[in-house]
């Protein structure tokens, strides 16, 4: 890499940091303590820099946001959940090999999402199922139920909100993380 290339890259990084650092600190402060935030940010910009050296990144801002979020989540998981999780799993792992336990977890998660959708109010559930499982368009659903497109959007919004809450409430890992925060 030539000297001018490097200068150019430095300038881009400076500009990117100027744009993204304040909102990232603000957003990350809801998840992590201050010293963790600094670590996450440093690592984020380092990853951006390395990738950018390989070839230009299309949407730098979005890229940086996503990397920071992933780092923050994995950090959360490591520090807050690991201990509790390991204690939990120590007993399981003696009997169940990993492939089986991951299938088990997958089924449990599927069941969780299925339960979430099953517990939606009637019309909301029908809209959800027609859209996601029968692949009907909003237009088609609008004809079937005689409701407006706007109403369908509202049902989907409501349904997703409900699913997310259901999952958050019932996901055991999350509960542990929340308790320890």
């Amino acid at each position: 890499m030539s000297h001018t290339d490097e200068m150019n890259l430095q300038r881009q990084l400076k500009q990117l940091m100027k744009e993204t650092k304040p909102p990232l600190i603000n957003a990350l402060s809801r998840m992590l303590p201050r010293y963790d935030i600094d670590d996450v940010l440093q690592e984020t910009y380092l990853i951006w820099y390395q990738k950018q050296q390989e070839g230009p990144i299309q949407h730098s801002k979005a890229f940086v946001f996503r990397v920071a979020r992933n780092l923050a989540i994995s950090r959360l998981r490591n520090t807050k959940v690991q201990v509790a999780y390991q204690q939990d799993c120590a007993l399981h792992d003696m009997y169940i090999d990993t492939s089986m336990s991951s299938t088990l977890a997958k089924n449990q998660n599927q069941q969780l999402l299925t339960n979430a959708i099953s517990s939606l109010p009637s019309l909301c559930k029908q809209v959800f199922i027609l859209r996601k499982l029968h692949g009907k368009s909003h237009q088609e659903i609008s004809h079937i139920f005689g409701i407006s497109i706007k109403t369908i959007e509202n049902h989907i919004t409501k349904g997703m909100h409900h699913c997310r809450q259901h999952i958050t409430r019932h996901s055991t890992t999350k509960q542990k993380a929340n308790n320890e925060l």
Partner: protein, 119 residues
């Protein structure tokens, strides 16, 4: 399936609500140019907007993989399930029963009127 990454952890409720709203709109694929600009502006506005939207999109995509739900709701059952609701909405819009007698009634009145004028 790992839900931890798709439930907008640590993101304020109003943001995930807005993200779901955009998701539903985009799913309908009927956004105007102005709305599209609004959407991209909103998305770039705050990292939390992007996080919420991406994570909920993931959740939204995964719901299509629930084969056990698919078995639970066959199209035929679906029709049965929606029928009562359809009927109740149709009844709301149906004319009250006396309306069907109105033409007959008016004809009678006209006849009586004509007869009265002859007498």
């Amino acid at each position: 399936m790992n839900f931890d990454e798709w439930v907008c952890y640590g993101i304020p409720e109003h943001i995930s609500h807005d993200a779901t709203m955009w998701l539903a709109k985009l799913d309908g694929d009927s956004l105007s140019v102005d709305e599209k600009i609004d959407f991209y502006t909103w998305l770039a506005d705050d990292p939390q907007h992007q996080w919420a939207f991406e994570e909920l999109s993931e959740l939204w995509a995964k719901t299509a993989l629930l084969d056990n739900l698919q078995n639970e709701y066959k199209p035929l059952q679906l029709v049965n399930a929606i029928a009562p609701e359809l009927i109740s909405t149709l009844e709301e819009f149906a004319p009250p029963p006396y309306q069907s007698y109105l033409p007959f009634l008016s004809l009678c009145l006209v006849t009586i009127g004509l007869l009265a004028s002859y007498l």
